[in-house]
Amino acid sequence: MQPKKKTLRPIVTGSSVLGIKYKDGVILASDTLGSYGSLARFRDIRRIVPITKHTVIGGTGEFSDFQEITKILRQKIIENQELVESGKEEDELLPSEIHSYLSRVLYGRRNKFNPLWNDVVVAGFEKGKVHMGTVDLWGSYFEDDIIATGYGTYFALPLMRKAYKKDMERDKALEVLRDCLTVLFYRDCRTINRYVFAEITKEGVNITDPVEIETKWEIADWQEGKL
């Protein structure tokens, strides 16, 4: 009897990815943790990666499948470069096309009962506007101005919905994301306090190095004068 060669359950996993549009572009954020069940095993992984000069993807779920998706998409970009006549950068695949292609791939895998176990955020800049959306392991596709995956859908999305205004300022957008990441660190047991931000504007993609965000762990009852 042949062994099962399809996805059974996720092993090394990444937690939430958040995304919010602002006046000049879009910012994505995630932590840098790859959990091995309850063990915080890989503490400096990148769950937000660039695909082209104007597109990034972020992944929740099985990290090896996310690496595979990165490979598939980057390979597609190369193949497309050979087809495109002009050889110009602006004629390469758009974020919306990458998003559409990925949703076909994931849907195809789910139909074979062998999914890539991820919830992927695709974000980028095309034709003067931001494109952002998500595709999941079942092949469900949608676009929105604010995005959250994993536990972020439960904790961060309500906060982002309240704070989001169309064409908000960059600082305000970062403030909202930092606030949500803090809440997630308090409440989601599979996170660490080490974050990466990816900003996409018409100039291109900029992914920061990991940063820490201040959190408070004192017990209120035990503070002088507090209750």
């Binding site: 695949l93 919306s96 998003h99 559409s100």
Partner: protein, 264 residues
């Protein structure tokens, strides 16, 4: 061209390094009735002369839609054209399904060229006996390509293929420098005038002239006969005006002669 001992198979070169079978296939294209294409910065147009085998039959359609942003005009073996058309429609549809966007014209033409070339190098296959003029609008640019049985494809500002196409080509060569800035109406008029050059003794009517346009904010559209008639009318009107001017000049000459006689 006369029969030689090197033309019986696609896989035989002649001593001059030619593949006669491909050249014979290109002859099939040259036998088809005229099809021409031209483009400006905002629109691309194809104009064709549709033959009918006799009075009882309908005119052979030569223009086909590939997708909302792309279409073709054919010259040569119509049945072969149908196969290539099906291929192009499939490619554009597949791209739309996977990427959610329009397939760039240049990419489908490249695929078509590869497909055509395969038939020039395979046992038991023959080249496609049809030439296509492909017009499309994508990436904010207009496109006009010609494909041929040889598998070559080129981009053009304007081009004509089929029988008597040289006359149309001469007209286009004379006028193409003005095309980029023209509006749609003027562009189509040039196309129809070019077609008139190659129409020979055949009168252009709304039944035997085919026109299709595509461009910025203009989905690929084959014009209805009544719309075609308006362009034909404009051509006839200009010619009619020239005729009337000539008549007036003749009359003036006659008057001058009689006056002189009177004086005498």
């Amino acid at each position: 061209m006369f029969r030689t001992q090197y033309d019986s198979d696609i896989s035989i070169y002649s001593p001059e390094g030619r593949l006669y079978q491909i050249e014979y296939a290109m002859q099939a294209v040259a036998q088809g009735s005229t099809a021409l294409g031209l483009k400006s910065k905002t629109h691309a147009v194809v104009v064709t002369l549709m033959r009918s085998s006799d009075e009882l039959s309908s005119h052979q359609r030569k223009i086909f839609k590939v997708d909302g942003h792309m279409g073709i005009a054919i010259s040569g073996l119509t049945a072969d054209a149908r196969v290539l058309l099906k291929f192009m429609r499939n490619e554009t549809l597949h791209h739309k399904f996977v990427y959610g966007s329009n397939l760039p014209t240049g990419e489908v033409v490249s695929s078509l060229a590869m497909k055509s070339q395969r038939n020039t190098q395979r046992w038991g296959r023959r080249p496609y006996g049809v030439g296509l003029l492909v017009i499309g609008y994508d990436g904010d640019k207009t496109h006009l390509y010609q494909t041929s049985p040889s598998g070559n494809c080129f981009s053009y500002y304007a081009q004509a293929i089929g029988s008597r196409s040289q006359s149309a080509r001469t007209y286009l060569e004379k006028n193409f420098k003005a095309f980029p800035e023209l509006g749609l109406e003027e562009l189509v008029l040039h196309g129809v005038k070019a077609l008139k050059e190659s129409s020979g003794k055949e009168t252009l009517t709304k039944l035997n002239v085919g026109i299709a346009v595509v461009g910025k904010e203009q989905k690929f559209e084959i014009l209805k006969p009544n719309k075609v008639q308006t362009y034909l009318d404009q051509i006839l009107q200009t010619e009619g005006e020239i005729e009337i001017e000539n008549e007036n000049e003749n009359e003036k000459d006659e008057e001058a002669e009689t006056l002189e006689l009177k004086l005498d």
